[in-house]
C-alpha cells in the first residue's frame, strides 16, 4: 500500500513547481496556472490527511471543496483583470504592469 509520505512529497513537488511558475513567469495567465498548481498540491495534502488520519472527520473534504471555490473565484477575477488589462495596454506581461510599484 502507498505510504502517506509519497503523497506528501509529491504534493510538495507540485507546490514547488507552482511556486517557481508564479515567481518566474512573465505571462500573467501562466502565473495564475502556477497558483492553480499550488492549490492542487494543498488539496492533495488535505485529502491525504483525511484518508490516513481519521476517515470519520470530514473536515478534509469540506476544506478541499472550499479550496475549489476559492480557486474558481480567483481564476474568474484574475482572468477578468488580465483581459481588461490586455484591452487597455495590449500586454499580458506582469513586469510591464508596474503602476502600483511605488
Amino acid at each position: 500500500m502507498i505510504p502517506l509520505s509519497w503523497y506528501l512529497v509529491w504534493a510538495a513537488a507540485l507546490f514547488a513547481v507552482g511556486l517557481f511558475g508564479v515567481l518566474a513567469r512573465k505571462n500573467i495567465i501562466a502565473i495564475l496556472m502556477g497558483v492553480e498548481l499550488m492549490l492542487n498540491a494543498v488539496n492533495i495534502n488535505l485529502v491525504a490527511f483525511w484518508r490516513y488520519l481519521d476517515v470519520r472527520d470530514i473536515t478534509g473534504h469540506a476544506f478541499a471543496l472550499m479550496v475549489f471555490a476559492v480557486a474558481a473565484a480567483e481564476v474568474a477575477v484574475g482572468l477578468a483583470l488580465v483581459i481588461s488589462l490586455y484591452r487597455r495596454r495590449q500586454t499580458v506581461a506582469a513586469d510591464e504592469v508596474d503602476l502600483l510599484k511605488w
Partner: protein, 173 residues
C-alpha cells in the same frame, strides 16, 4: 511493489513532469493542455485516496471549467509578439528556481521529522463520505457558515469579474 504503488508512481511522475511543462512552455495553449494533464493526475490521486467525489469534482471544476476559462483567456489575449518568440521568464528566474528548491526541501525535511510521515492508510469504509459531507455542509455545528460564505464568495467573484471585464461605453468606440 503492489500494482497500486505502480499506478501511483506513474501518475505522480507524469503529472509532475506535466506541471514542469506548464511553467516552462512558451506556447500558452500547450501550457494549458499540460495543466489539464496535471489536474487529471491529481484526480487519479483522489481516486487512489478513496475520495471519488473529489476526483469527479476535480475533473468537472478544473478540467471542465477552469482549464477552459484559461484557454479562452489565452486566446482572447494572444499577442503576436508575446507567446511564440521572446523569453517566457522574467529576470528573477534563478532566484525563483532557488526558492522553489528551497521550499521543496524545507517541506520534505519538516514533514520527514513528523512521526506519522510514512503512515499506512488505515482500513476504513469511505463509501458514506459524500452523504457525510453533505450533512456537514448544512449542519449548524458543521460548515453551514462556510457553505453560505462560499456562495457569497462566488457571487462576489461573478459580479466583480463581469464588472471588470464588461466594456464601458467610452471604450467601445
Amino acid at each position: 511493489m503492489t500494482p497500486m504503488q505502480l499506478i501511483f508512481i506513474f501518475t505522480a511522475v507524469a503529472s509532475t513532469v506535466a506541471a514542469i511543462m506548464v511553467v516552462t512552455r512558451r506556447n500558452m495553449v500547450h501550457a494549458a493542455l499540460f495543466l489539464v494533464m496535471t489536474l487529471f493526475g491529481v484526480a487519479v490521486a483522489f481516486v487512489l485516496l478513496e475520495a471519488p467525489f473529489l476526483a469527479v469534482v476535480q475533473v468537472v471544476v478544473y478540467i471542465g471549467a477552469i482549464a477552459i476559462l484559461m484557454i479562452f483567456a489565452v486566446m482572447l489575449t494572444r499577442n503576436v509578439t508575446d507567446d511564440e518568440s521572446g523569453h517566457p521568464f522574467n529576470a528573477n528566474v534563478r532566484l525563483a528556481l532557488l526558492s522553489a528548491v528551497f521550499v521543496f526541501s524545507l517541506l520534505v525535511v519538516t514533514l520527514g521529522g513528523w512521526a506519522q510521515f510514512s503512515a499506512i492508510a488505515p482500513f476504513a469504509n469511505t463509501s458514506g463520505a459524500v452523504a457525510q459531507l453533505g450533512e456537514a455542509l448544512a449542519a449548524a455545528d458543521g460548515y453551514v457558515l462556510a457553505f453560505e460564505v462560499a456562495s457569497m464568495l462566488l457571487l462576489g467573484a461573478l459580479v466583480g469579474a463581469i464588472f471588470v471585464v464588461w466594456p464601458r461605453q467610452a471604450e467601445n468606440d
